[in-house]
Symmetry: C2
Subunit: 140 residues, 2 copies
DNA sequence: ACCTTATAGAAAATCATTTTCTGTAATGGA
DNA sequence: TCCATTACAGAAAATGATTTTCTATAAGGT
């Protein structure tokens, strides 16, 4: 999914894509990792341009509404991942905070089985651990 | 898992079980639903006895450390579920906030497969939707 | 170009959570 | 059982992330 598509999706929901939002979006997509709002703010400031922290909060809120971002609670901090696809599962590295998208869903079967207890609206299957490169760096 | 076992587990970690903590624990276990700290505080106050909000926060923190509770981020609110088992998956009702424990794990297979991207430390598989009774009440 | 409506961003406000502090109570050993 | 040690309870204050407010500005449609 490209920037163009995202802009269109936002337009469909009557959100506007300003240069500030574009800067944050570019950073968010490029980075391929999860951020707290404050972290993303710093990241954008360094690489693209100065935007307000409020703007970052608002864009993350908007993206979440549209389904393009997902908040995670990890160690008491709220991290956001960029989610280009509806049905997504992540592998989240607890060390470098990189996020890898998984393109298979072994949980679909489970969804069907567990339908017994109620109507499943959505499910989350996420893996947490250390990615290859973090492992190879052999931190103590 | 009974109150007795929980008390022992807390003891092993050198935590003390006071009458206040026991009251909160009983409420938490009995209710079979998820709570925000404030909600649990109100719940305990109504049914058992008056305890401080700080105490509730501290017990939830303690239980989380020991692995007996898990925080969830839902609609920007942090909810805690009681987790008597290590390896647990939930069905969370978005309406009544009841939590049902699922005793099968269809994700184990996925864990093995996705081992390629890194070392999986833990995974989460959770289902969100509406439980039977909420469905049958037919809210609009 | 104009009009309507959403956004940017600083500043203030809010509110959940944490910390501090003092009195109290639980635990383990003598 | 008593004492010493250490953790806890809870009120009050502090913290800090997030939200709200407000005014100027900019985007998109006509």
């Amino acid at each position: 999914m490209e920037l163009k598509d995202i802009q269109q999706l936002l337009h469909e929901h009557k959100f506007r894509v300003t240069k500030e939002r574009e800067a944050v979006l570019l950073a968010f997509i490029d980075a391929g990792r999860m951020f707290t709002p404050a972290q993303l703010h710093d990241y954008v400031k360094e690489r693209y341009e100065q935007v307000g922290l409020t703007t970052v909060y608002r864009l993350l809120e908007t993206l979440t509404k549209v389904g393009l971002a997902t908040p995670f609670l990890i160690d008491g901090e709220i991290y956001y991942t960029f989610c280009p696809n509806q049905h997504h599962h992540h592998f989240v590295c607890l060390q470098c905070h990189q996020v890898k998208e998984l393109f298979q869903c072994s949980a679909q079967q489970a969804v069907d089985v567990d339908h017994q207890v109620g109507t499943v609206e959505y499910h989350k299957l996420d893996f947490f651990g250390r990615c290859r490169s973090c492992e190879e760096e052999k931190h103590c």
